[in-house]
């Protein structure tokens, strides 16, 4: 930058203007809009009270894979709060995030978790009780596109896990069940919130498959026209967070970014997390919300499926299982 003294001074000027008020950008997944609106409103005064000064937090929401790509392309996010580990890993592989990011914060840098669940219209007219019921003829499903959002990937993995569980780990049967369910999907939305609004506002589909955080929020709203079906098994969804070191170092926001993510682990932060229907790590907070966030049998991507890398190859890459199944479904529909 030394070769551009004029530019440097202009940037320096911009930097001094900016430093009077620190600003960080949180790039997050799609349905965390309300969660982080609340987290930010709580963190800003807490940060000021601790002597940190004025802080502005900007938000960007979208499918978490899309967000990761945007950061690689130049989106200046200081922190990421994603819904899928491999999206943070992609940033780590490209040296935007520390290699040992998962060890930088407690619980594998995942301050809260959730599971996938099923939302149906009030009265459950199609009699949905578990994942297998989604395969029944005439059931229509709305979910996120598994190619672009973690939300959609967890859904597909849940179908498959349910199949393995029901049929004594018979992969062929699990595949058949997953295919039947995917055949009933009427809309693949680009993000979690888009899927929700398609289900609620456009009244498309008998079933919305998304994070429990979203289904509980919708079902617990006053006068809600929906109810949550908690499936017998689900996939544990971790919500990894990380400081985007490459950006934060340049913008001088590394400390505030870390403080922001630390805040998510405080009792106050965990309370907000639980209030927004995510499952907190803090035992005390969890106990208080136990009635709402009922225990679910979960399988983990690492232990059960052998990790995200393997899952991506097996299920979500170009020409992998999801593509194959959708292609078969389309072919059968045309013929």
């Amino acid at each position: 930058m030394k070769r551009f003294p004029l530019l440097l001074s202009i940037l320096g000027l911009a930097a001094t203007v900016a430093s009077a008020q620190t600003e960080i950008l949180n790039a997050s997944y799609d349905i965390s809009r309300e969660l982080f609106a609340e987290v930010n409103a709580a963190f800003i005064p807490a940060y000021k009270a601790s002597g940190g000064g004025e802080l502005t937090i900007k938000q960007s929401h979208g499918g978490s894979s899309r967000q990761a790509r945007a950061i690689l392309e130049g989106l200046k996010a200081d922190v990421v709060t994603f819904n899928q580990v491999n999206d943070v890993q992609l940033l780590a592989d490209n040296k935007f995030v520390a290699k040992d990011w998962a060890a930088r914060f407690p619980h594998g840098s995942s301050p809260y978790f959730s599971v996938h669940s099923i939302l149906v219209r009030k009265g459950n007219p199609k009699g949905i009780k578990d994942w297998a019921d989604l395969a029944k003829a005439g059931v229509t499903i709305v979910q996120v596109n598994p190619k672009t959002g973690g939300n959609g990937r967890y859904a597909v993995l849940a179908y498959y896990a349910a199949g393995l569980q029901a049929f004594n780990n018979d992969a062929a049967q699990a595949r058949a069940l997953t295919k039947k369910i995917l055949a009933n999907v009427v809309v693949f939305e680009s993000g979690g919130r888009t899927a929700t609004s398609t289900f609620t506002e456009r009244e498309i589909g008998d079933v919305l498959v998304t994070f429990e955080a979203e289904t509980l929020a919708l079902a617990s709203a006053p006068g809600s026209a929906y109810q949550v079906i908690t499936p017998s098994v689900s996939v544990l969804a971790e919500f990894p967070v990380a400081v985007v070191e490459k950006v934060a170092a340049k913008r001088g926001t590394a400390a505030v970014a870390k403080a922001y993510l630390d805040f998510l682990y405080t009792p106050q932060g965990q309370e907000i997390v639980a209030k927004n229907h995510y499952r907190p790590r803090d035992a005390g907070v969890a106990a208080r919300y136990a009635a709402k966030l009922t225990p679910v049998k979960t399988v983990e991507v690492d232990a059960f499926f052998g990790g995200w890398e393997k899952v991506t190859k097996q299920f979500f890459d170009n020409g992998a299982l999801v593509d194959t199944l959708l292609k078969e479904v389309a072919a059968e529909r045309i013929n």
Binding site: L7, K58, G74, T196
Partner: protein
């Protein structure tokens, strides 16, 4: 795309059931196709009342989106005017090899998906692109920020002024300019005194259309914006966000602003065409 239709005598419908049927079918189908979405925008925007309507429009993020879209359209407008005038001048007043190809290239952004332009832009200016890493090393960031939003908006709307000017300038030929030059007028004088007055109404409409399209650009901006609320969200991205956020009324309130602008554009077009038919008897 303006039809400069000379006023011919039109047949009445009375006593001609066949004509009535044709008019009812055509006007009915097109009328519904246009008025239903138009009506829907204002109906859904106002269904919670005026207070709610203005409340949605004055929300901070929406106000910022209006500002950003105005900025993008405000930059695109003068750039596209200069470009449109230059290109129309070169292509209407002169012939040279490759002229048709050049027209096709200029109009290309109208015909290809804006997604392609957004993606191409990232391949140049994104951090994984051709120039992006070098620019970043020098502290210049040109992707996922306001700069990228403004630039792709300009690119996508670049043909609008041009395509309004070209047919008119072609039709007008070069006699007047030749006369002016032979009388000793300089280049700029010829342009400002002869050419510009002849095309001023088409230019005016081209400007309005270009402005309306830049306010409403979606696909390419969606690729390069990063959708940071209150920072890189344009009006259309704000509509997208609100629409999917269960605040449909707010989405349609924002949409009604853009729709009103489209209606003003149509008014101006109608008025301009009337002026043109007055100007050139």
């Amino acid at each position: 795309m303006s039809a400069r239709v000379s006023e011919t005598t039109r047949a009445g419908l009375r006593g001609h059931p066949g004509r009535i049927a044709l008019v009812l079918t055509g006007a009915g189908a097109v009328g519904l196709l246009i008025s239903l979405p138009l009506g829907a925008v204002f109906y859904y925007a106002l269904r919670e009342g005026w207070a709610a309507y203005f409340g949605y429009l004055l929300a901070p993020d929406t106000r910022h989106a209006i500002g950003l879209s105005l900025l993008a359209a405000g930059v695109a407008l003068p750039v596209n005017t200069v470009f449109g005038l230059c290109a129309a001048w070169a292509l209407a007043k002169f012939t040279f090899p490759g002229r048709r190809l050049l027209i096709s290239l200029i109009e290309l952004p109208l015909s290809i998906s804006p997604i392609i332009i957004g993606v191409g832009y990232l391949f140049v200016f994104g951090l994984q692109g051709v120039l992006g890493p070098w620019l970043d090393d020098h502290g210049i960031s040109m992707a996922f920020n306001v700069t990228s939003v403004v630039i792709v908006t300009t690119i996508v709307t670049s043909p609008y002024v041009f395509r309004e000017l070209l047919p008119l300038m072609l039709a007008q030929g070069t006699q007047e300019e030749q006369a002016a030059v032979s009388l000793g007028a300089g280049a700029w004088k010829t342009f400002f005194r002869v050419t510009l007055p002849n095309v001023k109404w088409a230019l005016f409409y081209g400007l309005t259309l270009s402005f309306a399209r830049s306010l409403g650009e979606f696909g390419s901006v969606a690729v390069v914006s990063g959708a940071v609320r209150g920072e890189t969200n344009t009006l259309t991205l704000q509509i997208d966000l609100l629409y999917h956020d269960q605040v449909q009324t707010a989405a349609f309130a924002v949409a009604s602003v853009l729709t009103s602008f489209a209606l003003v554009t149509l008014l101006i077009k109608t008025w301009v065409e009337r002026r043109e038919s007055v100007d050139s008897p």
